[in-house]
Amino acid sequence: MNEVYVVTIGMAGLLAAILGGALPASSRVVAAVALTWVSCGAAMAAAVSVLSSDHVISLSTTAILPLTGVTLVLNQLGALFVITISVVALASTLYWLGYASHGLATRSASSAMPLFVTSMLLVPFAASVATFLVLWEMMALASLVLVLTDQSRREAARSAAQWYAVMTHAGAAAILLALVLLSAHAGGQTFADIETHARHLSGAVRGTVFVLALLGFGSKAGAVPLHVWLPKAHAEAPGPASALMSGAMVNLGIYGIILVGNELLGGGPVWWWILISLFGVVSAIYGALYAATSSDLKRLLAYSTTDNMGLVLIALGASGLFAAVGRPTTAAIAMVAALLLLVNHSVFKGALFLAAGAVQVATGTRDLDRLGGLMRRMPVTGVVFFIGALSVAALPPFNGFVGEWLLFQGLLHGLPTTNTSVVISVAVAVAALALTGGLTVAAFVKATGIGFLGRGRSVEATEAHEAAITMRLGAAALAALCVVLGLIPMLVLPAIERAAASAGRVNATSATRGWISLHLPGLRGVLAPSLLAGGLAIAVLVVIVLRRSTHRRRHAWPAINSVEPWGSGRKLQTARMQYTATSFAEPLQRVFDDVIRPSRDLDVSHLVESRYYIERIAYHTSNDDVIERQFYRPFIAGVRWWGERARWLQNGSVHRYLAYGFVALVIVLVVVA
């Protein structure tokens, strides 16, 4: 049975990629999507069978990769990731059917998309260093092709792809180094070998491996300061691809950290987890801050991904810290919270990116300052975005809330310990969490309110049309899942607990209990999301009925009058007078001026006749990523300077090249001698 699953996933994916590249334009997307679905279905079946039983799927063959062979094992942790990825992939590929006509039906895209999905599905299966690295690289390359889809139309896409390529390969190099170091010291390249030997390694080796892996995987997960590629690539990738990248691929960054930190190395000293928490704190605040001040819809979503991964890292770090100081119950809760946050994030961020993609297709812009009024023009997309926004803002009764509640409970019950460093880092984490929460709410009120409500700020927005039916279906499916998981998180909690137990070596299988209300055994904390939502629904109904009943039929006027908005009686009132995303974020931006350091240009030109009359005022403000500006750009400039210096080495003269070879040979000989 094991072989059937794995072979189906791989073969269907491969076939989809081939057909996507070979078939004519009319049928290639449909064929690719259908086969990708087969692949996803098989993956889900495999994952469900692993999660519902105690044994793992394992398979190894030497037929595919020369020298090392392929080793595939799916444990409970991997299974959780596989399910999450396939859910997002199913929705995104369905959406792709409708999106394809907007520039995503090219041979390269139709071939890369199934390849991307399949490699993501298979990464959690990988159980040897070589297999893992090959699949990881496949995933990176396929997604790179997808980011490049729009490059002919937009310069920004090319630059984003460049950043992505460099960062992802730097990350891959770190991962490669970490895994190779590990396998060299452990004396075996399958994960099972490593796992048995890793605990006997010296602290220095383990620490080095951990830090390298954290850097490599952290960059994939968008942890600050390795995040710079993420807001570019996720924003520039076409709709379904950015949903897959933000909803599924970043998960694998976290998977990698758990894989190396918890599974392969089997946990570690306190400083590891403090480091993770620190990454998390910085990412969460930084991401939330930029999401709150960004006025590009998809860039905002991408920064929010960084923010959410920060929360996951905080939860992971807290779990490790609690485990290290001997508090298994809270460690388990924090681990479950981390995975729940991750799963929820995939669902709502997938929905949000799909909705944003639909907006981009309908209006041709992602600039919030040019959008508005889309809730009426694109009702389904609008509602999807609305639900996604409330979910990411962690508002009940949507799914984001449950994860944050669990995390708060874990931190609250874990906080009073005697270990000072734990107390301090957890307290800092709580403060960061709280700050992030408020900023995220502001960011998504802005995105929803400016983008979808009010009146359209440009012709494109006022003439937008609802997306194709498959696009709506794909996005709506994920939005529906947001609601379902918000009301009944117990649907996934058992699976998550099993995964957490397999990952964290903690007894997480009974971290939470209950069907209608969520109990934390051993601790006093209960949450009843469905009852809460039920009460809310009843209250809403009662209020609506009351409001309706106030209108008497004898009244000579209609119950509700649709009028021009009140503009203090002024004669001209246009949509441009509304607040824009930039103005909405201005107060927050001003509060955090010292952190973001936006650049502002105010250019006033006076009339020639008199300085007291102004001819034109130009105000320009931009808040590009401060880390990119302060660290990466100077670094790149430095590298470029050295590059320029090094050019004289290479002037095309054959003699000079031969001379280099000769000098090198001599040096080698001297060294050897």
Partner: protein, 161 residues
């Protein structure tokens, strides 16, 4: 500020014209206001004499608020539109818009002689006409400017208190 003063003002308000007589019989019975009247004030071109008296009617001495009358910031929140002055050409359109922006049931109160017949501004080049030329007036409060007692009296006639 002493606590004694604080207590005294809390219990016995001073400076107030206490007795403004019994509540007059309601003048306008078509609208059920139930003792609550929110007013949006529009100055359609007044000399500001009426504004002074309106301010005075809501200030401590006359305190129209104790009869359930309040000035509000948006016509959406208002039951009555209080217009002062002759309607100038520039204010005619905003006045209409303000009335349109009010929810039913709504009233228009014109205040002061100018609002009624343009007063000394009658026939001036910038004047469009009296308030009733622009919107339908329900209640008129006469005077140039009307005394605060008269204003309060008229408003009490509307709230019925």
């Amino acid at each position: 500020m002493s606590f004694r003063f604080l207590f005294q003002t809390l219990v016995h308000p001073r400076n107030v014209v206490k007795d403004l007589g019994d509540a007059p019989t309601p003048q306008h019975t078509t609208v059920a206001l139930h003792g609550s009247l929110q007013i949006r004030h529009v100055d359609a071109g007044s000399c500001n004499g009426c504004e002074l008296e309106v301010t005075s009617a809501f200030a401590p001495v006359y305190d129209a608020e104790r009869f359930g009358v309040r000035l509000v910031a948006s016509p959406r929140h208002a039951d009555a539109l209080l217009v002062t002055g002759p309607v100038t050409k520039n204010m005619a359109e905003p006045l209409r818009k303000t009335l349109e922006a009010m929810p039913e049931p709504r009233l228009v109160i014109s205040l002061g002689d100018c609002a009624h017949d343009c007063g000394i501004f009658n026939g001036a080049y910038g004047v469009e006409g009296s308030v009733s030329d622009v919107v339908k007036v329900d209640v008129h409060i006469a005077g140039c400017p009307p005394r605060p007692e008269v204003i309060v009296e008229a408003l009490r006639g509307l709230t019925g208190r």
